[in-house]
């Protein structure tokens, strides 16, 4: 099963993962990645905004690319939007495959693209107010690995 979702409310990564696993009996391996709001640097909250006409179609396009590139039995991409607190999940990517490296690389590929090639804008609330976050240069280097 392929699931791509923008979520304006908190979600439970373990429950989503378990649900995905049930849909792909042939998947000998399931890889996943959960990104969460870190409580470091005095971050009090994190907000992700999106642009409706681009964001979900872009995620669906990324899912198609990921499925074309790796031999998968199932793929799940869930990304939060809105205001989140430290510890809240931001993103969950999971992939099931017959062979483990397809599953692991698919997650790696999708995460690199969500991080710096998907239509989200992130800002953090610190003691002195909101700060927009741009991708680190490492994020761009990670993305370039797949070109």
């Amino acid at each position: 099963m392929v699931i791509v979702r923008l979520s304006s409310q908190s979600f439970d990564p373990a429950a989503e993962l378990t649900a995905l696993e049930g849909t792909m009996p042939q998947a000998g391996g399931i890889a996943s990645f959960v990104g969460r709001v870190r409580p470091t640097d005095g971050t009090q909250a994190l907000e992700l905004s999106h642009y409706e006409p681009l964001t979900l179609p872009g995620m669906e396009g990324l899912a198609e690319q990921t499925l074309a590139r790796f031999d998968l039995e199932g793929l799940l991409i869930i990304h939060r939007v809105g205001v989140m607190q430290p510890g809240d999940p931001i993103v969950l990517v999971a992939a099931g495959a017959r062979h483990r490296r397809d599953a692991i690389e698919a997650v790696d590929f999708a995460m690199d693209h969500l991080k710096s090639d998907a239509w989200f804008w992130k800002r953090e609330l610190r003691a002195d107010g909101w700060h927009w976050i741009e991708p680190r240069s490492a994020d761009h280097a990670d993305l370039a690995r797949w070109k």
Binding site: Y51, P53, L114
Partner: protein, 84 residues
């Protein structure tokens, strides 16, 4: 006769609003220089940066300077993204 301009990320902060009306005038259309001329100076200056992209009705333009917008069109100014 107007288009809408959606401002994303820090561009919304810069403009103080997430959305601006773009009056089209008698020509009933507007091009990129025309759009820049209507924007507050700080926003116009940011918009010309190479990292800022422009979408027209949900499609990102390969070259924002080729813009021609007409009545009812939705434009969006897109700063560098940051997800996950």
């Amino acid at each position: 006769m107007a288009a809408r301009l959606i401002l994303l990320g820090r561009l919304a902060d810069l403009a103080g609003t997430p959305e601006l009306a773009v009056p089209l005038g008698d020509a009933a259309q507007i091009d990129w220089p025309g759009l820049l001329a209507l924007l507050p100076a700080a926003l116009a200056e940011a918009a010309t940066g190479p990292k800022i992209r422009l979408a027209l009705n949900g499609a990102v333009l390969a070259d924002k300077t080729t813009l021609i917008a007409r009545s009812g069109d939705e434009l969006a100014l897109l700063p560098p993204v940051s997800g996950g």
